[in-house]
């Protein structure tokens, strides 16, 4: 997996209105050039917020991406929780590094 490039794409998308227009027009096409697995591509195209969170995308990056898709706040939180329930604990990144499993416990 290539969490770095998933997050790099989202970082660039979140701050670049021109890239957002390209993403709207051709979600799959804008991902060429990023080293992504098929799973990651599908998650970004769908978009599958729960899977992206499970893969380890930082919530601050994911939050902006969800806002871009007009996903309402409680729905956004629910999708992340559903992703953990469906796919398991966060695989990689800051949450995995610190033991976070998204299970609502300190």
């Amino acid at each position: 997996m290539s969490l770095y490039y998933v997050q790099k794409f989202l970082y660039q998308l979140n701050r670049d209105e021109a890239l957002q227009e390209q993403y709207d027009a051709d979600r799959r096409g804008v991902l060429t050039g990023y080293e992504l697995t098929d799973e990651e591509v599908e998650a970004l195209v769908a978009p599958d917020i729960g899977l992206l969170f499970h893969l380890g995308v930082n919530g601050q990056i994911l939050m902006h991406f969800a806002a871009l898709h007009q996903i309402e706040w409680t729905d956004y939180l629910q999708r992340m929780g559903d992703g953990i329930a469906k796919h398991g604990p966060v695989r990689e990144g800051v949450y995995a590094m610190t033991g976070y499993e998204g299970v609502g416990e300190a």
Partner: protein, 272 residues
């Protein structure tokens, strides 16, 4: 001339984006505290405002992540977020490139800092400015501490950065205000958003008000994560302001947990 104001405030996007979902009495108390902070900054005679932020991947990414950065531009666009989602319209905030450069050159004498001639504000700066300079009539100098992408900036370096900013503010002829923005305990943008450790927040703010360097630097990231969530990493901005205040005592003007805003919303300042 001198640093004339030093304070801290919360910057959670819900403060503006989900305002209608909070308890109106508590929310309005927060807004009133923000307005008093604006009045205090104006009364200080400040001619520019340094905002020490914990930005959230709006400008800096893990391809080239600076521990510290300061903006070097005459204008800054924001917010990067969807305007309706954040509840803040797109804006262009004034900077002051000349002043930024003088600040940066002085900070560089004692702290290694990146500079940025482009900087897009996210909610971390946009929400505070929404209350503190609603007319965008005060030049902003954005500064950032890496609180998001590990390896994070060490706490003691955040303190040193605050000392560097104080020296720089005191070295320029303009009157400077400085505001740190961040959360205390919180688990933002995760399924645990809304969880708040009030006891931890009170203890942190007690250390902050005493401006107790040793107590503030006694935290470590794993413990902070366990007790205060990944949002707790943003205490770096508060600690930076403590150092900039150079031993002055602090006062908490407002601190209430507002779960829909995902944090204990806080307004505090130092008596310089």
């Amino acid at each position: 001339m001198a640093l004339v104001y030093a304070g801290v405030c919360s910057h959670a996007p819900g403060i503006t984006g989900r305002a209608d979902q909070a308890d109106p009495d508590v929310r309005d108390g927060l807004y009133a505290a923000f307005h008093r902070m604006r009045e205090d900054i104006e009364a200080s005679g400040a001619e520019a405002l340094i905002v020490v932020a914990a930005e959230h991947f709006a400008n800096f990414f893990m391809d080239n992540m600076p521990s510290f950065a300061i903006g070097l531009a005459d204008f800054y666009d924001g917010p990067i977020e969807d305007a309706q989602w954040l509840g803040i319209d797109k804006f262009c905030a004034p900077g002051n490139r000349d002043l930024s450069q003088r600040i940066i050159v002085e900070v560089m004498q004692t702290s290694d800092v990146a500079y940025a001639e482009e900087w897009k504000f996210d909610h971390g700066i946009a929400v505070p400015l929404h209350f503190l300079t609603p007319s965008f009539d005060m030049p902003i100098i954005p500064a950032n501490i890496n609180c998001q992408g590990p390896p994070l900036t060490p706490l003691h370096r955040s303190w040193a950065f605050g000392e560097s900013l104080r020296r720089a503010a005191d070295a320029v002829p303009e009157k400077i205000a400085i505001v740190g923005t961040g959360g205390i305990s919180h688990w933002p943008a995760t399924p645990d958003s809304g969880k708040i450790n009030e006891a931890w927040d009170r203890d942190f703010l007690d250390r902050w008000c005493r401006n107790d360097r040793d107590a503030l630097l006694a935290y470590d990231d794993l413990t902070v994560y366990a007790d205060a969530g990944q949002g707790g990493f943003e205490i770096r901005t508060f600690i930076c302001i403590s150092a900039a205040a150079a031993g002055a005592p602090g006062t908490v003007h407002f601190c209430e947990p507002i779960p829909i805003f995902a944090v204990s919303c806080t307004i505090a300042s130092y008596d310089l």
